[in-house]
């Protein structure tokens, strides 16, 4: 079963083989887990989300066309799930940011625009920087956020991003570009709010 192609695992799953579906999950859980975690962040239960994505895939498995690869299909389900969740729970987005003290906010924000020193600092306290990064990212509209994560963090090609989001490649490009610009705007706004106007 370990060497079976995806199409075989899918047909075995449809025939009622639980082990075949477990193997299919095992193959794609890493990619789904990474994408879900990066888009939703720490404030969501990643395990529940991944489970829900695969359960959705399971109930729709008969509609999957085995002539196409399974990876982009499951990624699309994952991206749609994340976008749905983000739309439902907008209120979560400022939680992490408010956990930081004002002085910390300014200090950490300034570090973000200085490439050189960042990697060393991150190693010392990645959680704090992650709070800032999350705060900026969570300010994006769900579709922009998903496009940004898929392209920039997951490192996917634009055609893959487009497939995952169910859009054209052009739309995917526009969304990533807007996300980049939007992040910079939010960053400037936050920095100004934290008293760092002199930086930019």
């Amino acid at each position: 079963m370990l060497d079976s192609p995806d199409a075989t695992l899918i047909s075995d799953t449809l025939a009622g083989d639980e082990g075949a579906f477990a193997e299919l999950v095992r193959r794609y859980q890493g990619a789904v887990w990474g994408t879900v975690h990066r888009i939703l962040g720490n404030s969501y239960d990643c395990e529940d989300a991944v489970q829900e994505v695969f359960l959705r895939a399971f109930t729709s498995l008969r509609r999957f066309d085995p002539r196409y690869p399974f990876g982009p299909w499951i990624l699309r389900i994952a991206a749609n799930y994340c976008i749905d969740q983000l739309r439902r729970k907008k209120s979560r987005k400022m939680q992490l940011w408010s956990e930081l003290r004002e002085g910390e906010q300014e200090h950490l924000l300034k570090d973000l625009s200085h490439d050189g020193g960042l990697s060393a600092v991150i190693n010392a306290g990645v959680q704090d920087y992650e709070k800032i990064a999350r705060m900026l990212l969570d300010g994006l509209r769900p579709k922009l956020k998903a496009a940004f994560v898929l392209r920039e963090v997951d490192g996917r090609e634009y055609n893959e991003v487009a497939m995952a989001l169910g859009t054209s490649e052009l739309t995917a490009r526009v969304r990533v570009s807007r996300a980049r610009a939007e992040l910079q705007k939010r960053y400037k706004r936050c920095l100004a709010g934290a008293g760092g106007r002199e930086l930019l």
Binding site: F21, V25, Q51, L55, R62, S113, V126, I132, Y187
Partner: protein, 152 residues
């Protein structure tokens, strides 16, 4: 924003030809706006890539068990059986049948009316006694004709 700032995305996506790339790199060295954006994005990506959470062990078995344990609702079952291509074909056939039905009664009506007119004309040619007052409907007429041995 100066025009060369517009090349930011294509530079970041590594899609510029060598000449444009060199042009943008010279621009980047002088443009605070682009520098700031580039650094910010690099930092965000670095941070987000570092904040990975390990995948939970035994998750595939748990998910598979739950998937096979859950009873799908009737609508999910119906939808899952409807593959897109057959569903579209069925939809097209239904639409065709519906359109045909729209015309079919009209054609039947025309035929029936013509047949009915023909029968009425034939009946007119028959001499029906005035005493046959019980004939008040088409059914009565057909019954009377049968009794009288008339065929039209």
């Amino acid at each position: 924003m100066i025009p060369l700032c517009n090349l930011f995305d294509r530079y970041r996506d590594d899609e510029l030809d060598p000449e444009k790339r060199e042009q943008f790199e010279s621009h980047l060295a002088a443009c605070i706006h682009c520098q700031s954006r580039m650094s910010l994005l690099n930092s965000l990506v670095t941070i987000l890539k570092q904040s990975e959470v390990p995948v939970a062990a035994a998750l595939p078995e748990r998910i598979a068990r739950r998937a096979f344990g859950q009873a799908p609702s009737w609508d999910t079952l119906v939808i899952s059986w409807l593959k897109p291509a057959p569903a579209l074909t069925a939809l097209a056939i239904s639409a065709l049948a519906f359109v045909s039905l729209l015309f079919a009664p009209k054609l039947d009506t025309v035929d029936s009316s013509a047949e009915y007119d023909r029968l009425l004309n034939a009946v007119d040619s028959l001499i029906i006694p005035a005493s046959e007052t019980q004939i008040q409907s088409d059914e009565d007429l057909v019954f009377w004709l049968n009794q009288e041995g008339n065929t039209l």
